[in-house]
Amino acid sequence: MSRLEAKKPPLFTSKPLTRDAVSQSLSLLSGVLKSSYGPAGRLKQLHNGAGGCVCATSQSSALLGHLSISQPVLRVLTASVLNHMSRFSDCGLFTAILCCGFIENFRSLNVAPFTVIQISKHLLSLCMNHLKSEACGCRVSVDFSSLETLVCLVRSILTSKPACMLNKTEVDHLTSLVLKAFIFTVPCHIETNAVLGKCVVIPVKGRRVVDSAVLPGLLIETPEIQLGKPLAVKRTGSNVIKIALFSVSMSGDSSNPEEGTIAVHHGVSLEASELNQLLNVGQQLVKHEVGLVLCQKVMHPSLKQYLKENGVMAVDRAGLSLMEPLRRVTGSQPIASIHSLSPGCYGSLKDLCIESFASKHFLHLIPEDTVICSLILCNRSETAWDELKRVCETAEHVLQLTVKEPLALLGGGCTETHLASYIRHKSSSLPASTFKDLGCSQTQYQLVADGFCRSLETVARSLSHDGEEVLTDVVYGHCWFVPSGSPCASRWSDLVSKCSCGVNDNTEDLSWSFLQGQSSSPILQGCPKEPSVKVADLRTLDCFAAKCSGLQVALETANLILDLSYIIEDQN
C-alpha cells in the first residue's frame, strides 16, 4: 500500500550569491580546483569511504564528474565545465578556476550585475579579438611539417597530470606513441571532406609504461584464442577476408522486451526455435563466404561451433565502444537483425593475426587502408592507468583540434598574464564612446576590467603550490616563477632565468613585479610586446581552441550565476 504524503511547498532562495553557505561552498570548490592545477598540482583521492576503488586524480572531468554537489549554484558551474570538457577534453581546470575567479571578483564590486555583464562581455570580445589577431603575443602557429611544436604540445599535456606517475623516459616514449597514433588517424587520400579516424585505447594494466605500443588497425581481446596454432581464415576469390558485423545479440534468448506474456504449449521450446534461426543465419554466412563473424554481444555456443566447423572465425562480445571503429576498419554495415542478411552489408579485411601483450591475446584486424589505430596503453597500477588513459585521450583530441586550427597558446600561465596586461593596457585607452555604448561610467569599466584581469592572474598564480613567488614583467606580460627558498637578491634577474613558457629569458631588464602584490599590477606603457619565439625554447603549450572556449565558457557561466536572483527548489 502506498503512503500518501502532503506535497511540500517549493523552497525559494533569493539572492543566492549573498548567502554564506553558497560562498563557502564556492570558495571550497575553488580551493580544490586551484590546488589541483598544473604539473605540480596536488592530487585528490576520490572514494566512497566504504572500501570502493580509489581514484587519485587532478583531472577536471574525473574530479567534477565524481562530486555529488548539493548547491544548485555550483551545479551550474560544474555542468558548464563538464560540457566544455566533453567538447574539448582540455582546459577544464582553467575554465573552472577562471569562472570561480570571475564570480568572486565581480560579486564584491559595487556595480549592478547587468552592467558587470555588459562590460565583461566587452572585455571578452577584446580578448578574443586579440587572440585571433596576428599580433597576439601569446600564441604560436603549429607547423605540422615538423615535430617540435607538436611534441611540445603533447608533452605539456602528458606532464600536466602527476597522477600518471611518468618519468622522463616514459613521457618521451608516450609522446612519440601519441603522435604516431595521431598520424595513423589522418587519412592518406583526402577527398572532399576529410574525416579524422580514431585511436582506440586498449588497456593492459600492471605493466611498465614503456611496454605501450601503437598498431594500425584494431585489436580485439580474444581470451579463447589458442596460441601456437596458425590462423586459418577463409578468404574470398579476391583474397580478402569477408566480415559480417552483428550489433544484435546472437545469444539465442528471445529478445522481446515488450510487455505482455507469451503462452507456449508444453513441449514447444522457444530456445530451440531461436537456435534454429541462428543456425539458419550461420548457414547463410557460410554460403556467402564470410571468413570472420564479429558480434557486439554474445553468440550462442552452438552457432560458434557450427561456424568453426565450417572454417569461419567467430568473435563475440566486442562491446559497444568498438562498434564504430569496427565499422570503419572493416567497412561493413552493422547487422541489427538476424532475420535479413543482405550481401551488401559485409565488409572486408586484408589480414588477420594474433598479437600477445602481457598475458592477453588479441585478434589483430588489419585493413587495406585505415584511419583507425590501437594504442596499447600500459601503466603499473590501476589508478595511474586510469589517469593516463584520460590524459592520452585528451592529447589525441587536442591534436585533432589543432589540425583544424594550427595554433597553440603559450603555457605555464604566460597566456593568462599576457592577456591580463593586454586588457589593462587596452582598457585604459578606450574612447569615451565605448562607455556610452555600454551604458556605464569609465570608473565602473575600470573596476570590472580590474576584476577580469585579477581573475586571469589568479589562474596563473594557481600554478604555484609550494610557495614559489609569481612575477610578471612589464614588457611582454609573461609569467615568471621564483623557486621557494631562494636567497635574497637585489635584482630579480638573479632569481629568475626563464619565463614559465620558456620564450623569454633574463638577459634584458624586464622590470619584474609581483603578480597581484600589495600594489595593483603596473599598467604597461604600451601594448605587451610580441617576443620572438624559438620553438626549441618552448617549455609548455596549451591547446588554442580549448583555451579560447574555456575563456568564453568561464565568463558566460560566471555571468549566468551572477545574474541569478532566485533559486526555486522542489522539495518533494
Binding site: S70, S251, T261, G485
Partner: protein
Amino acid sequence: MAFRDVNARRHIGLQQLSALASTGRTFLGPMKSHKFIVDEITNQSTLICSAVRLIESLDLTSAVGQLLNETIQAQNKEFKTGMSSLLFLVGAWSNAVVECLQQNVPVPAIVSVMSEGLNSCCERVQCLQIPIHDVKKELCSSRVRPKAFESKTGQVERHDLKNSWNLLCFQTDISATEEVIPINSCSHQGHDCNFNKFLVSPLAGFGSVASVVKAVGDKSSPALSGSGVTAASCIAQKLTHSRHFSTLGKSPFASQQGNFQGHLSGPAADLCGLGCLAVALSHGNQTSVKLLQSIAAYQQGRAECSGSSQVNIAEIVTCCVLGLPESYSCVSPGFVTLVSPEQATVIKHFADKPLRILLVDGDLTEEYRHLGFNRPPNVRTILERPTPQGGGAGDVWLSRMSDVLMSFEVNLVLVKGNVCKNFMERCIASRILVIGCVARSVLCAFGSATGAQAVTYLSQLSTVCVGNGAWAELWHTGDGRAVDLGELLPARISAGGITLLTAVLTAALPSKAQLLEDHFWTLLYRLHHALKDGKVFPGGGAVELLCLSHIQALAEQPERPGNAKELPSPWLAECKSIVLQALASGWKRYLCVLLCNTATASSELEAGAAVDHHLQKAAACGSPSAYILEEFRRGGVLRGGSEPFPGRVTDLKVCDNVEAKTEAWRRALDLVLLVLQTDAEIITGPRRNQILNSPVSNEFMFL
C-alpha cells in the same frame, strides 16, 4: 560530498602508509616468520607467511590502504615475488619522505629527485646482472657443490640436500609465530592484551617480545609494532626445541630418512644450469626446488623439440594433498585432482582402458545457460494435461543427458563449472567419470592432447568433439604408499602427449597447504621470469648495496653545470642532497632489517654498522660494483664479521629476478609519491550523513 585535507598536520596519508607497511617487516629476506591472522568476530585464524596474504587479510577500507593493496596485488599478479620488498620499501620511503617534508623540501623537488634517483640506480645496477648462461659458471663454481644437483637421474637424496641446506634452513621450518594480528579490530586495548597472552605465550616464555599489530581499520590509531624483528633472530634458534612451534612431522630433517623420489621418469637431462638457478632463486625453499627441477626436466625435454628455453607456466597446475608429509610432494604429468570415493571406484573400474573424453566449458546443470543469455521473463508454459507422477522435468533432462553421453560412449567428462549432483550420481552409476571445477588451462591441455573440442551444452555433442586416448588412475606416492586420507582421494588423469604437469603438494598440516602453494608459485614465477629476462641479479642485498653506494655518491657529487641557463641555487642543491639521502635511507633500512631477519646481525644498530663498513670498503675499492661482484663470487655480499656459521655462505649463492626487483622498487616509490602528492580525500556518494554524525566530522568539509 565530504572533503578532508590530508595534509593538515604531518601528511596523514604517508603516516598511514608507513603504519600499514610496518606490519610486513618480518617477511623481508629468506627467513620469514609466520604470522597468525585472527578474526576478532569469528575467532578464525589463518597462518600466513607473505606480504600479499597479509595485505589480503587486513581490513583496508582507507583510501591509502586500498592503494597499497592495489600495488601489492599488481606486483603479485605479474611476478609473484618482490611483494615483501615492495611493502617494506613503501614503509621506509614514506618515513623518509615525511622527514624531507619536515625539512621544508618542496614536494615537486622530492618527486623529481626521488624518481630520477631511482632511475639512475636502475641503470647503475645493470652492471651487476648475470646472464643466465653464465649462471652455471657463476653459481656452481662453489667449493662445496651440492651433490644433489649432480645427480643425473633426478633422484635427489635427502641426506645430500641436508648437507648443503640445513645450515641455512634451520629457521624456515619453524613456525616462529611472533606477531598476532587481529583483524576487524575494534581497537580495544584489553582485547589485544588477551591475544598477547593467549596466543603468544609460548614465545613470551622464551623471553621474546611479541608485537601485536592491529588491523588498521580506523585511521586514528595507526598500527603499532613492537620489537618483533629483533625477536625473530634470537627466538628462532631456541624454538627448535619448542613443542608448540616445531612440529616434528613437518620438519624434513628430523624424521624422514627415505629417499625422495618424484614420479620422475622423464628425460634425465643435464639440469645443472637450471637446477643451480632454481636453487639460487629459491632463497632456501627446498621442497619447491625439487618440484621445479622435475618441471624443468619435463619441459626441457619438450623444449628441445620446440626450441624455447622458458618454463611454461600455463601448463602447470597444483593439487594439494593433505595428510602426507611434505617430502612426498612431486610433479606428475597430467592432471591430478581430488575425487570422491564413488568416483574412485569408477576409476578402478576403468583399469587401463583408454577413455573417451569430453570437455564442457560451462556448468553441467539443467538451469545453466551460457553467459549473456537472458531468460525471457514473460513466457508462460501451458500444460494440456497433468504429467504422470515421478516423470518430473528434471528427470527428463537427466536421462536425456546421460543418453547423450552413452550414445557417444563417453567415459570421462571434465567440466569447467559445477556439476548437478543428481547427474553426477547417475553418471557414476553408468560408470562415467565426471569431474567439475576444472581450470581452463586443463581443458585446453586435454583438448590439444586428445583432440577433444570443448562444448557448452551436451546437446552440441558430435563425434568430432569427443577425444580419445585419455586414461585415469588413482594417484600413488613415489614409494607406492597408499593414499587413503578419508573423504577425498587424489586421482591422476592423463593422455598421451599431454603437456600439462601437476605439482602435487603434500602437506601434513592443513594450515600450511596455502603457504606451500604460495611458495611453489613464487619460485616457479621466479624461474620463469629469470629465463624470460635472460639474466638475474646477485641476491642477498648486493643490488641494494650498490644502489646505496651509488646514491651516496650522487648526493655528494656537486651539481653538474649542465644547463647553463639554470641559475645555481644553493637551496635546491641542498634539497637534492636531502632527498637523495632519503632515498638511500630506504635501502639502508632494507639491508639492516635483512641482516637482522637473517640473524647475521643481532640488532639494527649492529646491522647499520656492518652496512656502513661494506659501503666504506666498496668506496675504497674504487669501483663499488666490482667490489660487490667480487664479494658475491666469494660467497655473499653482506656477510657478518663474526661469521656465525662458517662454511655456510660458500655453499649458497642467492639470486633475484631483475625485472621483478626493479619493478617492485618503482611501484613502491610510485605509491609513496602518489600519496605524497595527494592533499585531500574526497568521499563521494551517500555517506554524507554518516560522516556528518561521526566524531571526525569536524575534519571534513561539505559541498
